[in-house]
Amino acid sequence: MPGDQPVLEAVDVGKEFPVHDRFGGSRAVRAVEHANLALYPGRITALVGESGSGKTTLARLLALFHPPTSGEIRLDGLPVTAATPRGEYHSAVQLVFQDPFAALNSLHRARYMLRRALQLHGRGGSRAEVERASLDLLRRVNLTPPERILDSFPHQLSGGQRQRLVIARALAVQPRVLLADEPISMLDVSIRLDVLNLLATLRDEQGLAMLYITHDIASARYLADTVHVMYAGQTVEGGPRDSVILQPKHPYTRLLLDSSPDPARSMADGADDPFAGVAEAGEPPNLADPPPGCRFHPRCPFAMDECRREFPARTTFADGGWAHCWLHRKGRTGELLADVAVS
């Protein structure tokens, strides 16, 4: 039941943090800049980027942990301000944390966590009702046997079980938006897929709008409908997943794809050595002193003068994708896509 109106939106959001060094000095770090994102019911949007790209900051802005420095966040099309009641907002938007070991208070049983979540959002009722609702939540995230899980402390659960419990607790609120911040990166490889499948089920069956934050572009493609790519605090590209991943329209997305492990590519008959021809491509910038204009230009093989001066406006493509890149403004789209076709 995907809808057409975004539930939650970030419109040209920026965020600066003061960073203190050990000796009491402080500088502003521009963690996020020109960030745009829209989450629709029944759709998963992936936000892909390296560590330090600002993707977690963006999620935390959306979770209202801190206010954005510029731009605005809209819930159901209405801007969220300091006056917006937090309780109301958080009954619509919940966050799933990266580290399921840290996200659960080790001194509480699962029963307590679910009960509090239910009670705080008006789903309390009698003890039996709460118990029934809690068991139901656990079943929805495939935590079995729910009766035993309810009595467990976090340390008695495995990593995957804990992450399911975190998801169950978020669901207790009956949110419409779920922000999942690298929900599988701390889990063992063999159980990651099942957590992703759970998220997909929640999208399909309950029409949740979901943000899936990850550094693993392959998992983004597996789970998400839409993929956004973030680099050094700026959202540089977005669109339907196959548009972004099979036909990247930003040089950074291309670099990311070329760098990601892809056994299918290297195991194909007559394939080149996957490590042949990998060029030095530098490192992401220091966000306390980022390069002007497009922040990717120092690493970009196509960089031109414009890139150093100004952040490019969005170019939208026929396949529904968009990118912030001067190549498209300058009619050089062909150069980028030609290269992709070769690899």
Binding site: H90, Q94, L104, H121, V166, R169
Partner: protein, 305 residues
């Protein structure tokens, strides 16, 4: 968690020792006074500065008072000052530290400067000078003075811990669920701090006992009450050392050392529980294994030769 702590032999032993002294302080004077009929102040003119004997198991003081009775009554004096100063210091530390850590911002800045101010001041010298002005103060005043200078280290530590807990994912998650500030502190943050605070309290009690003894020794404690400190002080004043009355000054010091060790043991045990690196290590098993390995290697060499 509590059960886990008690599983450590060190903690159990330390707590038992500590509990023993508190018990002595509470019921001891009554036992010696009413049951044995030995008074800490009564003077036995027939046995001045007598060495330990059946009549006076720990001997008598230079003025013929029973050392054991004094020790038991002194326990009450020392433990009373230790406990009250410990409670004061711990409450202050928790109030200042947790408040600063949880509220942050301006309140945190002010409280942090205050804490640092108290940390940098040489507390014992300050206690000394203040106690000097109010010489002959009651034990409660002494306890107050000690407690008021004993909190800042704990406050600093609790502030750091609270800050960490406040920003911990689990607290953030609870806040996102809509828990209010009071409940965040009481149900999410404080339960994690109970271990630290109890260890801190034990340390503060012992620090109080130490400080009280030292003040007594300098002659600025409360003159009218008997404590382990006054016992040592009086013994020193009356040249117990050069007259060889070891039974007079040795036991009270030993008591202080024992209660200090008890606290150290509890803290050790707590460390081992909170620090997994220390917990899983089994030094004895490792040593056994290494011995066996050396033996094996020797045999291998011998066989080869």
């Amino acid at each position: 968690m509590i059960g886990g702590i008690l599983r450590s032999a060190k903690v159990r032993f330390g707590l038992a020792l500590f509990g023993f002294f508190v018990l002595v302080a509470v019921v001891g004077p009554w036992v010696t006074g009413s049951l044995w009929g030995v008074s800490a102040t009564a003077i036995d003119y027939h046995h001045l500065h007598a060495a330990p004997s059946a009549l006076h198991p720990f001997g008598t003081t230079g003025t013929g008072q029973d050392v054991l009775a004094q020790l038991v009554v002194g326990a009450r004096g020392s433990v009373a000052v230790g406990l009250s100063s410990g409670i004061l210091a711990t409450v202050l530390a928790a109030l200042v530290g947790v408040t600063a850590g949880f509220l942050g911002g301006r309140a945190d800045q002010v409280l942090t400067v205050l804490t640092n101010l108290f940390i940098t001041m040489p507390s014992f010298a300050v206690i000394l000078i203040v106690a000097g002005y109010v010489q002959g103060a009651s034990w409660l005043v002494i306890a107050f003075l000690i407690g008021i200078f004993e909190w800042p280290g704990g406050a600093r530590y609790l502030r750091a811990q609270t800050l960490m807990l406040r920003n911990h994912d689990s607290t953030v998650a609870a806040r996102m669920l809509g828990e209010n500030r009071r409940r965040l502190i009481v149900a999410e943050v404080m339960p994690h701090l109970t271990g630290i605070i109890s260890a801190m309290f034990l340390r503060a009690v012992v620090a109080g006992i130490f400080a009280e003894a030292a003040l007594d020794f300098l002659g600025i404690g409360s003159a009218d009450t008997i404590s382990w400190g006054t016992m040592i002080s009086v013994a020193q004043d009356q040249n117990a050392i050069v007259r060889g009355y070891w039974w007079w000054f040795a036991p009270p010091g030993l008591c202080i050392a024992l209660i200090g060790t008890a606290t150290a043991l509890v803290n050790f045990g707590l460390d081992e529980i909170t620090n997994p690196r220390l917990r899983t290590a089994n030094p004895a098993a490792v040593r056994r294994f290494e011995r066996a390995a050396r033996r094996r290697a020797r045999t291998v060499r011998e066989v080869a030769a």
